[in-house]
């Protein structure tokens, strides 16, 4: 029985997908950060993870955090301890790829709480991974850009083969992480093989200035597949 640290972005959704193929996922755990520059947690549209949890048919434990550097780690620990108590989880799953900062902190929390820790995307080749997401049938939109040279066309765009090709070029030219784990990009998953229903965005607003932009989802609903 595992709990998945869940932001609603592609990495935590795909980590959840891999976990469901090998083990039983008992719940999703979302830290709702009030700090837009959180060190640990993906922030845009994080309050929308409840709809994704419904789409996946999994319970969601939503836990508030002010998102201040070390306190948010205590908040994360409290959230995981609560999930252990409520759902009887024996381990945690994360979508960490390269971030030693995130991975080491979650590993320490799991050790302190006597839980297993799984990172099924660890060190994955990022471009291969983006292509795998599409070939496995995930529908992903880019909900935030936070680095040069992303222009406004990226905000709200769907991840496609063409976008992946562009990311590959940007990786070579600017050393960006194509998966966006360095905070360059944020994503939101609308559909995938583990979704029983798909998400349709009805209304969203876009803001962009000086290589920073966000898509704020204002209304969305679940639709039959």
């Amino acid at each position: 029985m595992l709990g998945v640290l869940f932001s609603g972005g592609k990495d935590s959704v795909f980590a959840c997908y891999r976990a469901m193929q090998k083990e039983t996922v008992a719940c999703l755990i979302t830290l709702v950060s009030e700090n837009e520059d959180s060190y640990m947690f993906h922030t845009p549209n994080i309050r929308k993870t409840d709809l994704q949890a419904d789409a996946m048919g999994l319970p969601l434990l939503s836990w508030p955090t002010k998102g201040e550097k070390e306190e948010e780690l205590q908040d994360l620990k409290d959230a995981i301890a609560t999930a252990k108590e409520m759902y009887g989880i024996e381990g945690i799953v994360t979508g960490a790829i390269e971030s030693v900062y995130q991975a080491a902190r979650v590993q320490r929390i799991c050790r302190d709480l006597d839980l297993w820790c799984f990172n099924p995307l660890w060190q994955i080749d990022q471009i291969d991974y983006l292509r795998l997401l599409l070939s496995e049938g995930f529908q992903i939109i880019i909900t935030g850009v936070f680095a040069y040279p992303f222009d406004s066309s990226w905000v709200g765009a769907e991840l496609t083969q063409e976008r992946i090709r562009k990311l590959e070029v940007l990786q070579k030219r600017y050393q960006i992480n194509p998966s966006g784990e360095g905070g360059e990009l944020e994503t939101f998953v609308l559909d995938g093989p583990l979704f029983k229903k798909r998400i349709n965005i009805l209304r969203a607003s876009k803001a962009y200035e000086n290589y920073r932009g966000r898509l704020t989802i204002e209304d969305m609903r679940l639709e039959e597949k």
Binding site: F118, P120, I124
Partner: protein
């Protein structure tokens, strides 16, 4: 063919993505032929056909391999190069008479290479990612390569190409796996 031995709690586990696939991907990038086998499926023919063996790591809570040390008695007489990573280093240590000791470490730590070897090169300081609750004492017939006697970061067999490293080379030290492939 380099044979990767999966030491995780069960065959084809969720941990395999984290501890076996990243090593396989390093070998794939340098086009080194390789295969993967779970330790419960290791047999003489596989050991015979492999050119080199890598014993991969496991999750922090996963120590099931320690209960199956009899599966690794072949190490004592194996003549081909072997690299043990974290849990794999513990297996090598145990097979050659060392003891498992509590040494919990998580995260990036400085590593002092004190002895030149074909695997890690000249003495110098590097940084490596650690993820272990246990280490292993220095077994007889092994030289300390990195760290201190009571806390070995790396060791090597005095006569054979058998190496153990307690840190994870797939994180920021892929060159170690590449160098092992080219030994």
């Amino acid at each position: 063919m380099i044979l990767l031995v999966d030491l995780c709690y069960k065959k084809d586990s969720l941990s395999g993505y984290e501890f076996v696939h990243p090593i396989a991907n390093i070998l794939k990038r340098i086009e080194a032929p390789h295969g993967i086998v779970h330790y419960t499926g290791l047999h003489g023919d596989l050991l015979e056909s492999a050119e080199k063996i890598i014993l991969c790591g496991t999750a922090l809570k996963d120590n099931a391999y320690c209960e199956q040390i009899g599966q690794f008695s072949w190490l004592k007489s194996y003549e081909k190069p072997v690299l043990g990573i974290c849990a794999g280093m513990q297996i090598i240590g145990l097979a050659f008479g060392g003891e498992i000791v509590s040494q919990p470490t998580i995260g990036l730590e400085k590593i002092e290479i004190i002895r030149e070897t074909p695997l890690l090169g000249e003495p110098r300081q590097i940084e490596g990612y650690h993820l272990h609750n246990f280490g292993v004492t220095m077994p007889d017939g092994f030289d300390l390569v990195a760290g201190v006697q009571q806390r070995a970061e790396a060791f090597s067999h005095c006569q054979r190409s058998i190496y153990g490293i307690i840190f994870h080379p797939e994180v920021r030290n892929r060159w170690i796996v590449e160098r092992f492939a080219n030994l």
